[in-house]
């Protein structure tokens, strides 16, 4: 397998956007292409990640649409739909093209424009990933799966609402240091949990999860340019190697899992990614996790191998996952503050990690970050892609 490098990364600001789906995708793509500074080197192909455009934007064949926007024909073009893991799946497809030798330069762009529909429609389009007969028909939505998961984890491992709030406080703080983050506002323990007005500020969404345990609904796009070793050598500059990718699946219905508190797919995907990279969780300098709900940051930090099972909330409490901690988690603000345009999220993880590993994450730079890890959590854990990136001299 040939080595794969990330040569450029860029994104739009996440949030509510008036831009069309293709405008979002184009702006992110061009910022990544400019960052890569390819000069005369041609783009061989593009891969677009998206989950809901067919339904919420009434647009399909997004690869062909973006290749036209960017006037990159006759480059190859396709779109990948893999639920909330679409971003990292599309990235994997791009990396496979490079690793196999079929391409030297591939643009991977994740995009979602989901604020165009009302909240019920938006929630329903994401809920359509649930099992149609055993979950969806009952009114199961992603927040409800997260709420049921949170209640079990909290009961079993002593996680309290204050720990969930600590995730939100940390990620909102990080988000204010990221100009691309949707929410630019810090929150306090008093404001969302302990003061009397917290009940109003932070209403329940899916008990025991409240508003500030859930990511916002965002529009946005993120892009990276992946290249072969020969192209990376021509470009010069800092080199970010795609050191390992692992993917694992699990049962469609959450109730079907042997232990519904065990994020087995995160564990297996991470083990594969670390094994391919030849490093372990303790080597990681910076991690971007899929905190669509605060409880997931805690649970994923354990399943990825950073902390023992049932102790992620204790590491959080000790400050180990803050920007100045031993293992900073979600310096970008995470889904919680940066936002979650579903198809863009997995790619945005790589954008943040690329900036971190190149020393370009102004205002939130992790000193000497050399190894980055990302977890893109699809379904409610039924399809997970874990990735390890490494800076090379």
């Amino acid at each position: 397998m040939n080595p794969v490098y990330i040569a450029g990364a860029g994104m739009t600001k996440f949030g509510r956007s008036e831009w069309s789906l293709m405008k979002l995708a184009s702006v992110a793509s061009l910022s990544a292409l400019h960052h890569a500074n390819l000069g005369e080197i041609p783009v061989d192909g593009i891969v677009v990640a998206n989950m809901g455009a067919a339904r919420v934007n009434r647009q399909t064949a997004l690869g062909s649409a973006l290749v036209d926007q960017l006037a990159l024909y006759p480059a190859t073009a396709e779109a990948v739909e893999n639920g909330p893991a679409s971003g990292a799946s599309a990235f994997k497809v791009g990396c496979q093209a490079i690793a196999s030798g079929m391409a030297d330069v591939v643009l991977v762009t994740g995009v979602e424009r989901m604020r165009v529909v009302n909240g019920l429609e938006g929630t329903d389009f994401v809920a359509s990933l649930a099992h149609p007969e055993a979950e969806y028909i009952y009114g199961v939505t992603l927040p409800s799966l997260a709420g049921m998961f949170a209640r079990l984890v909290m009961d079993r491992f002593g996680v309290e609402r204050k720990h969930l709030a600590m995730v939100a406080i940390k990620n909102h703080e990080n988000g204010t240091k990221n100009p691309y983050a949707h929410i630019q506002q810090t929150v306090t323990m008093e404001g969302i949990l302990t003061a009397p007005e917290a009940a109003v500020n932070n209403p329940p969404i899916a008990e025991p999860l409240h508003l500030f345990d859930c990511c916002p609904v965002s529009d946005g796009a993120a892009s990276v340019v992946v290249v072969s070793e020969s192209v990376a050598a021509k470009l010069g500059g800092p080199k970010v190697r795609v050191a390992g990718i692992g993917q694992a699946t699990d049962t469609h219905a959450v109730h079907d899992r042997e232990d519904p508190t065990d994020l087995k797919s995160v564990r297996l995907a991470s083990e594969k990614a670390f094994s391919m990279a030849g490093v372990g969780p303790s080597d990681v300098d910076v991690a971007e996790l899929h905190d669509a709900f605060t409880i997931l940051e805690i649970a994923e930090s354990e399943a990825a191998g950073f902390f023992p099972r049932g102790e992620g909330h204790l590491a959080l409490e000790r400050g180990e996952t803050r920007l100045d901690g031993k293992l900073p988690i979600n310096p970008s603000g995470g889904l919680k503050a940066k936002g979650h345009p579903v198809g863009a999220t997995g790619v945005a993880h790589f954008v943040e990690l690329t900036w971190q590993l190149r020393g370009e994450a102004e205002g939130r730079q992790i000193k000497d970050a050399a190894i980055g890890y990302a977890c893109n959590f699809g379904g409610f854990g039924n399809n997970v892609v874990a990735t390890v990136l490494r800076r090379e001299a």
Partner: protein, 112 residues
């Protein structure tokens, strides 16, 4: 869906899949017989969800995963007040969603 919720019992090893699938996860056989899903059980976890999908006009829905006697787990709507982990319930079939005027029946859990 009719008035019953059905799982698939593998004709080779007897393991029940719910929801149904085309290959038995236990022995990889591909032949099944229908088996009715339901009975008594305990609440494994639950939530009151306010982030609702389309088709619901209520303020919130109370959803649960229940572990039935024998170990089969199911997702459905929890009825009654005072939900608790481990609460004893039994299944009934009720209208769980109305989609474009069509009533969809499925599992609901009644306190015993």
């Amino acid at each position: 869906m009719g008035a019953k919720v059905l799982g698939a019992k593998c004709t080779s090893c007897g393991v029940v899949s719910y929801p149904v699938r085309s290959v038995c996860p236990n022995c990889r056989a591909e032949s099944f017989e229908d088996v009715e899903i339901g009975g008594k059980g305990k609440v494994l976890t639950y939530t009151d969800v306010y982030a609702l999908a389309i088709d619901y006009e209520t303020r919130y829905l109370r959803l649960a995963i229940v572990e039935l006697e024998g170990g089969q787990r199911v997702t459905g709507q929890l009825l009654g007040d005072d939900p608790k982990l481990g609460k004893a319930v039994e299944t009934t079939i009720g209208i769980v969603r109305v989609q474009g005027g069509k009533e969809i029946r499925g599992l609901q859990f009644l306190p015993v």
